[in-house]
Point group: C2
Chain length 189, copies 2
């Protein structure tokens, strides 16, 4: 969690970046109200007050996190025919703390927080649905993208509730296969 280097120099940009990284990690793992500025500052190795100083406040920090999330371009590469397979494997077998999942994680963790919804909606459109739909192309791309994204988010939630989905290895393999097929069906024209 210690995002800040051990040997520190006074560097506002680096501190800002450390705070942003710490905040991204926290907001990707807990809901808005669960995340305290003190925990973020602690992760970054600085005082709480710097958060308000550098970002303005908690809401602005959250917005900054959303804006700092890069579109997960790796998802939107290669043959769309492999999409289901690729994403299913990622969602079920790979660690969830990868940067390319940040945007989706942050979106879903704080989706219940009313005052964050508009920022989430905008960032989601710009940094996920948009690039996704452009890559996919074809008719009703937005609609297909939404369906696939909903499924992805649901799976991420379940994975948080029980790491292995409460399944045996065999069951998980079956689940992965089904997920791959259904994801593929979601995006197909």
């Amino acid at each position: 969690m210690a995002v800040r280097e051990l040997v520190r120099r006074r560097d506002a940009n680096a501190t800002r970046a450390a705070l942003l990284a710490a905040a991204t990690s926290r907001f990707a793992n807990e809901a808005y109200d669960s995340v305290s500025l003190r925990s973020i500052a602690s992760d970054a190795g600085v005082d709480v007050s710097l958060v308000s100083r550098y970002f303005g406040g908690k809401e602005e920090l959250f917005a900054a996190v959303l804006n700092a999330c890069a579109p997960p371009d790796e998802m939107f590469e290669g043959d769309p025919g492999d999409f289901g397979e690729r994403i299913a494997r990622m969602l079920i077998d790979e660690p969830l703390d990868d940067d390319k999942l940040s945007i989706l994680l942050v979106m879903l963790r704080s989706s219940s927080h009313a005052s964050a919804c508009e920022a989430i909606r905008a960032a989601g459109e710009e940094r996920f649905y948009g690039p996704f739909a452009r890559w996919l192309g074809g008719e009703n791309a937005a609609c297909r993208v939404r369906t696939a994204a909903a499924l992805m988010k649901g799976v991420m939630i379940d994975r948080r509730i029980s790491e292995d989905f409460g399944m045996s290895t065999n069951e998980r393999a079956l689940f992965r296969d089904r997920l791959a097929r259904v994801l593929q069906a979601a995006i197909e024209a």
Copy 2:
């Protein structure tokens, strides 16, 4: 929000029930940490202290809410061949505050709260996945159920973020159709 009757009589069971109903509504709409006992007590029209007295504390109240959620049997009736259509219509067109969605809503709203996960997992198994799988039957029912449920939860999240999914009426109809097809694919053997 005023769950309590206006003309009140001293009735511990009724008060308990009012608190439970208010809590269910709150936990179905906000994340665990966002829900305050004072807001629940206020909805029920009684003092905060009664929450701790009747349920023990916040965690126990949350557990009681989960245990009080009835399995949404109406979902698990009729022809499984209509499942996708029925559920898609429900998720996209009907209000989300229906009792039969409580269990799923509560599960997903607080899924990020680490200490609630075990209770959520257990309640989900007993009150949703279990009945769902028994109704569905066939091979790998659990796996098929999980896939469909994940998609349902994802759609519920997106609906919270933007009421109309940021879609026109036409797009929403297309989305509903696609969702119906993909949900059906999720549960099919």
